[in-house]
């Protein structure tokens, strides 16, 4: 038997293994979904209360008008970079090991972007007037102000959300066709629609491959632009400690850092729950660990450069913010954040044996995400809490309503992801087969 025969003979098993999460559901899954739904309902209730009674239910006040909602917005946008980076950049560099990881990461991107959009609405307060953001000819003859970085943000995120949805959908078409022929019930009808008549002809494969080849570099460029623009939201303002040229690249690297860490968590959990050890192997964790080490070093370098410049310049407005972080009212979260996103990843991920330990890597992923969330809060709150006139200095901590909405939204993200893995194969089946074929040929 030749190697080539082996790959083709493995196909029925690959189909069975990778479609099984869609076909079998345990009671623990229903329990998990039920618990998450309760949290989502609580969050929805808190938001409804905030809409009814006004944005005053938050702890946002002068001069701190941006708080947990904007920090969460920045954080979730960062998480959304997981899929595009893993899938796009690694596809461009022909990294074969990406194959079992891409779909899980792309799903994270779409879920994270859906959740990100919610934070804009939470923060709007008068959410029923959201359409003021949309450029359309109206009676007021007034257009949105495109000179504002917030409008750049709205445009970029709309582009990114649309492009990411397309980017996850295209490679899914052959897998939807596979599911269409093997799964019964209402889902069969949905898969038939989504498979858009796929039957695996060479013309279809050629078209699909060409489309993926064209869209991949485009979406990577969109990914970089989106988080740069999120960075511009801050750096374009003349707020002390925000007005910095490093913000755009720092935000991009930070986003990739938290995104990779989130992929690590998802990879571990899905592998464990759906017994995907044959597909998601230790080498995948090891390679992601190496990438995470690179982003840790890059992010630390940028953060150090930024803080050193502020410290050496000693501009009073800027140094006041830095002092509040180093030994002032924000020192505890600051040093905790430094430990979470720089120190712990660095001292663990440098060890090759640690990078081969999936549980350890998952824990590091959790720690990094906790740290990155705090980091987002520390980028936003301390500079706003220390305006140039010191009599305006103030402090902020999220209110109970804000915390309820944050927890509810986190639960919503987990719920959407959990529901998605019951509908979408978490590993790209045809790409996995292609990867095995390439591995056996070379």
């Amino acid at each position: 038997m030749t190697d080539r025969q082996t790959v083709w003979e493995e196909m029925p098993k690959i189909n069975r293994d990778l479609l099984s999460p869609l076909q079998t559901t345990t009671w623990t899954y229903y329990l998990w979904v039920g618990v998450l739904s309760c949290f989502v309902a609580a969050g929805a209730g808190a938001w409804t209360y905030q809409i009814q009674t006004g944005i005053g239910q938050t702890d946002l006040h002068h001069p701190i008008f941006w708080g947990s909602y904007i920090a969460s917005f920045v954080y979730w946008i960062g998480v959304s970079h997981s899929g595009t980076f893993i899938s796009g950049v690694l596809r461009l560099t022909n990294a074969e090991w990406r194959r079992p990881v891409t779909r899980m990461a792309e799903l994270m991107t779409v879920v994270a972007l859906l959740v990100t959009a919610l934070f804009v609405f939470y923060h709007l307060g008068r959410v029923w007037r959201f359409y003021y953001l949309i450029p359309y000819p109206n009676q007021r003859e007034l257009w949105p102000n495109f000179r504002s970085p917030l409008m750049w943000d709205a445009t970029a995120i709309f582009t990114y959300a649309t492009a990411s949805t397309i980017y996850i959908y295209l490679p899914l078409i052959p897998d939807f066709a596979l599911a269409r022929d093997r799964i019964q019930g209402w889902r069969k009808t949905v898969y038939r629609w989504l498979a858009i008549g796929w039957h695996g002809s060479q013309a279809q494969w050629r078209t699909l491959e060409m489309a993926i080849r064209i869209i991949t570099p485009l979406i990577v460029m969109v990914m970089i632009s989106v988080h740069s623009i999120v960075g511009f939201d801050f750096s374009m303002a003349l707020v002390p400690a925000w007005h910095s040229t490093i913000f755009a690249p720092y935000f991009v690297v930070g986003a990739v850092h938290s995104g990779l860490a989130m992929v690590m968590i998802g990879l571990y959990v899905l592998r464990k729950v759906y017994h995907l050890q044959n597909y998601v192997r230790t080498e995948h964790f090891e390679k992601l660990g190496k990438l995470l080490l690179v982003t840790t070093l890059l992010l630390a370098y940028m953060y150090f450069a930024e803080q050193l410049t502020i410290w050496y310049g000693k501009v009073p407005d800027h140094i006041a913010v830095q002092n509040s972080l180093l030994y002032g009212s924000y020192a505890v979260p600051f040093w905790f954040m430094v430990s979470c996103i720089y120190v712990i990843p660095l001292v663990t991920l440098v060890w090759p044996r640690f990078r081969q330990w999936p549980v350890g890597l998952m824990m590091v992923g959790l720690i990094i995400n906790l740290g990155m969330y705090i980091e987002r809060m520390l980028i936003i709150v301390p500079p706003l809490a220390h305006p140039r006139l010191s009599f305006q200095w103030d402090e902020y901590f999220p209110s109970m309503i804000e915390l309820a909405i944050l927890v509810g939204t986190l639960a919503l993200a987990l719920l959407l992801y959990s529901l998605a893995v019951k509908f979408v194969p978490v590993i790209s089946i045809w790409e996995e087969k292609l990867g095995k074929k390439h591995a056996q040929e070379h």
Partner: protein
């Protein structure tokens, strides 16, 4: 298995092959029966490395991407510059039309339109530009390669192709018939 009906208007012959079978000689034999490449299709669970069929591509996908991108730039310029001119917000020391802003918005709308147009073109090509009578066969995803040949309403030719595919080593061959009103 041979499915044949006298009332059928069009026949499609489908042969399933072991993936180790060399298809070019089989294709040459089919071509020698006077069947052009446009009526032949290869079905596989994976993209094949080399294109075995010579089919003309009417509009290359990348051209549509470029057209979409150019339209996107136009949309971006309208939003960032056009709307500013429609409702000028005079701010001290700042121009009504800001070039960096036009650049950023146009970049995003260019990307948006390029990606959306590429996607729509891809979806249309996949969904509608398909061989008549071709349909998915689950056995292909299990590790077979399918060779589908359209022979119109010529029943004799359908049988001839049927025998040819059998002789070429197809593990299974069938003639699918499509009624004229379908």
């Amino acid at each position: 298995m041979l499915k044949n009906t006298e009332t059928a208007d069009r026949h499609v012959v489908l042969g399933l092959f072991d993936p180790t079978t060399s298809l070019p000689p089989v294709l040459d034999q089919i071509r020698s029966q006077g069947i052009p490449d446009i009526l032949i299709e290869i079905l596989s669970p994976l993209p094949l490395e080399t294109s075995l069929l010579n089919k003309p591509v009417r509009i290359p996908l990348y051209r549509l991407t470029i057209i979409g991108g150019i339209v996107g730039i136009g949309i971006g310029i309208f939003f960032a510059a056009g709307t500013a001119l429609l409702f000028p917000l005079v701010t001290g020391g700042k121009p009504i039309v800001s070039i960096p802003v036009v650049g950023i918005i146009s970049y995003e709308t260019m990307m948006l339109m390029a990606i959306v147009v590429t996607f729509l073109a891809t979806a249309i090509k996949i969904a509608f530009v398909q061989q008549s009578g071709l349909r998915n066969d689950p056995r292909i995803d299990e590790g077979s390669v399918g060779l589908s040949v359209q022979v119109g309403n010529d029943t004799a030719k359908a049988h001839s192709i049927f025998r040819l595919l059998q002789k070429a080593g197809a593990s299974e061959v069938e003639i699918r018939t499509i009624a004229s009103d379908s």
